[in-house]
């Protein structure tokens, strides 16, 4: 068992260097996430989607961690992980289908926007209850270990989730069973209106790992390379049989908690303005232009292309037919019970008689 260290992991020398040749690809993914975020907030305001959870400020944390994973690794996300879904190659249209809840939505119109499930991308179904995915990621890691599969699981959650039952149980189990898992906490400073310092008296969230005998690492979540390296390192440890790591990526939630939230009730715009000085997308953009990897023109082209791609996906998603009205009776069980069949039939009957409009 690795000695507990609140600010550093032991280096296994297994983590490879940051793939500089892919930096523009990472940047593009961050930009795509930002573009989608802005468009989706507008769609929600226009009533074209019912709800939206923005991720602005968390792009580098998600893109850096996402790129550090192998496609075979399993992800147990919360609801703010749009950027991560993009890294995994989920098509933009698939994401918009889910927001719209149309007949192409893989969650079949059953979940609120942002609560995705993409089995093909090993992106496990997200729910709203906070923290519940944490223990599940540990269990999947225990299962992978039992089968000797060379993969890790990673779970994403917020600062607020560190107060949940599952955070405690998850870190404890993972430590005891040396589960090959990564706890990736995006500390965005807020749990709706509750500031980070009122969530826990702990100085950092990473130091909570100490109590469970695991390494805990704090990383600047606006620095895509730092995030990448921290996750690579944790992944290498996990695969080497040395168990889990807790990573605290320090970021800032630029937008409201969700489109139902009004942050002016509890935080000063000044704090947001300050945080935006470290906007991860802008930081990487200026660096790439400064170092000549991109020019102002080639950068502008990236934004334009991605905006057009998102616009096309929205158009296509809005043209996709609505969800079939009786579909909500499906998937309760593998085979419907007789009682459910009866309820579905009675619903159909009411539609036939004109009592209900489907």
């Amino acid at each position: 068992m690795a000695k507990a260290a609140s600010s550093k992991t032991e280096s296994h020398g297994l983590a490879d260097a940051f793939p500089e040749e892919r930096i523009v690809e990472l940047y593009r993914t961050e930009v795509l996430a930002r573009v989608m975020d802005e468009r989706c907030l507008t769609l929600q305001r226009q009533g074209r989607i019912g709800f939206y959870v923005p991720l602005a400020g968390q792009e580098a944390a998600q893109v850096g961690s996402g790129y550090a994973l192998d496609p075979s690794d399993w992800i147990f996300p919360a609801y703010r992980e749009l950027g991560l879904a993009l890294v995994r190659g989920v098509p933009v249209k698939s994401l918009i289908d889910q927001f719209v809840g149309n007949s192409a939505d893989l969650t079949k119109g059953r979940q609120m926007p942002n609560h995705y499930a993409f089995r093909e991308q090993r992106f496990v179904s997200a729910s709203s209850p906070i923290g519940t995915q944490i223990t599940q990621a540990v269990g999947a890691a225990m299962a992978a270990k039992k089968r000797k599969d060379p993969i890790v699981t990673i779970t994403f959650f917020g600062d607020g989730a560190t107060s949940s039952n599952d955070f405690h149980a998850g870190l404890n189990f993972a430590g005891v069973f040396a589960a090959p898992t990564i706890f990736f906490c995006q500390n965005n400073g807020w749990a709706i209106s509750l500031p980070r310092e009122k969530q826990t008296l702990s100085r950092t969230l990473a130091e909570k790992a100490d109590a469970y005998g695991l390494p805990g690492v704090v990383v600047d979540g606006n620095d895509v390379r730092a995030v990448y390296r921290a996750v690579r390192e944790a992944r290498a440890r996990a695969l080497a049989g040395d168990g889990p790591t807790l990573i605290e990526a320090q970021v800032y939630r630029f937008g409201p908690h969700s489109t139902s939230d009004d942050p002016s009730r509890y935080r000063a715009e000044e704090a947001v303005r300050k945080a935006r000085e470290h906007d991860p997308v802008v930081l990487l953009q200026s660096e790439l232009i400064r170092t000549g990897i991109l020019t102002k023109d080639s950068d502008a082209k990236i934004w334009e292309e991605l905006k057009a791609e998102v616009a096309r996906a929205i158009e296509a998603a809005e043209k996709t037919p609505a969800m079939e009205p009786l579909s909500f009776f499906d998937d309760v069980f593998a085979q419907p019970t007789p009682a459910l069949e009866e309820q579905k039939a009675s619903f159909e009957q009411l539609v036939r008689e004109g009592v209900l409009r489907p």
């Binding site: 019912g50 709800f51 809840g101 149309n102 939505d105 119109g109 059953r110 979940q111 609120m112 609560h115 729910s127 709203s128 209850p129 906070i130 607020g160 989730a161 107060s163 949940s164 039952n165 749990a191 709706i192 209106s193 509750l194 009122k198 969530q199 826990t200 139902s260 939230d261 009730r265 509890y266 609505a322 969800m323 009205p325 009786l326 579909s327 909500f328 009776f329 309760v332 019970t337 009682a339 459910l340 309820q343 619903f347 009411l350 008689e353 009592v355 209900l356 489907p358």
Partner: protein, 325 residues
């Protein structure tokens, strides 16, 4: 009297309790600075301070467990669970502890906590911001379960809950938080538990509803009236204790019963109500008891209007019953 929405009435009720009794306090997520995600506690922290309107860390078991400790010590905590869908981390504290404290201590440790929580669908909340799981709590001995359907009852029942001697699960119909307004008595207004109200009197069929299902049930009754069917609408108000007398009296008069709730059908509260009617009003019945409920599926997002009982479905069931002689 003041004209208020349901959520404002909750707010006024809390305010009256906080001003009249120094032992009352509120705790929950986002209830203080933010005034609650539905604004039920708006302005209360400013007025009564952060020691009496407490923003907690994100832990429902923490909220209810500490509320139990406070209650054992003599305070009157009102815990808010942000959505009923998020009550389950506290289920153990509610079911194993809160409900049983008085009983298991032989009456030495009564434990009075009010757990307020918004419930129900119709707000595009999907699986986890829409559920109506009152049956779990009504099934647990030792918990009172209260569900107001209008602003006056919201305030009056809440103040009764806060001054009751037993734990109360207080379910607020968030779908009609702002859509219904009504005159609400000022000051310390109380509505007793265990007293159903007859919202509309009728002679042909009894429609039983509570919470957010009362307005569509009333609408159904109005439609039926224009067809010459006289439906009686009974608002149960409290599921535990249940006003059996009022329920039986209504069915003895009409001979027909339709039970409405948005919770799933199987083992929903309608099952209990139907059993009571079958046991105690059997000889008055002229038609089978019917239930109009949510379906036995999780709560769907895009198709929530198909899932939820609406006036058309309620009227259809009542019509069918009324035509049975």
């Amino acid at each position: 009297m003041t004209e208020l929405t349901l959520v404002q009435a909750v707010n006024r009720g809390l305010r009256v309790a906080l001003s009249s009794d120094p032992d009352v306090l509120i705790l929950g997520e986002d209830v203080g600075v933010n005034g609650g995600v539905f604004r039920a506690t708006e302005g209360l922290q400013k007025e009564f301070g952060p020691d009496r309107v407490i923003d907690t860390p994100l832990s429902e078991t923490g909220i209810v467990g500490t509320a139990i400790g406070m209650a054992l010590y003599g305070l009157k905590p009102v815990a808010e669970i942000q959505f009923m869908d998020f009550i389950y981390p506290a289920f153990d504290q509610i079911v194993s502890e809160l409900a049983k404290m008085r009983y298991r201590s032989g009456g030495q440790y009564p434990c009075h906590v009010v757990v307020r929580t918004p419930y129900g669908g119709g707000i595009r909340g999907g699986l986890y911001h829409s559920q109506s799981t009152e049956a779990y709590f009504a099934h647990t001995a030792g918990l009172k379960v209260v569900i107001p359907s209008n602003p006056a009852d919201a305030k009056g029942l809440l103040l009764t809950a806060i001054h009751d001697e037993d734990p109360v699960i207080f379910l607020e119909p968030k779908r009609i938080y702002r859509s219904v307004t009504g005159e609400v008595a000022d000051g310390d207004y109380r509505v007793p538990f265990g007293k159903a109200t007859v919202v509309i009197e009728g002679t042909d069929v009894s429609l039983f509803a509570y919470g957010a299902m009362v307005p569509p049930t009333v609408e159904a009754a109005q439609t039926l009236l224009s067809e010459g069917i006289s439906a009686e609408v009974v608002d149960l108000r409290t599921l535990v204790p249940l006003d059996e007398k009022a329920i039986l009296a209504s069915v003895e008069k009409t001979g027909r019963a339709v039970v409405v709730h948005e919770a799933a059908r199987f083992c929903g509260f309608g099952g209990e109500l139907s059993a009571i009617l079958a046991e105690k009003a059997f000889y008055s019945l002229k038609a089978p008891i019917t239930r109009v409920t949510g379906y036995d599926t999780p709560f769907p997002y895009a198709l929530e209007n198909s899932y939820l009982p609406n006036p058309a479905r309620i009227a259809h069931a009542a019509r069918t019953a009324a035509r049975t002689q």
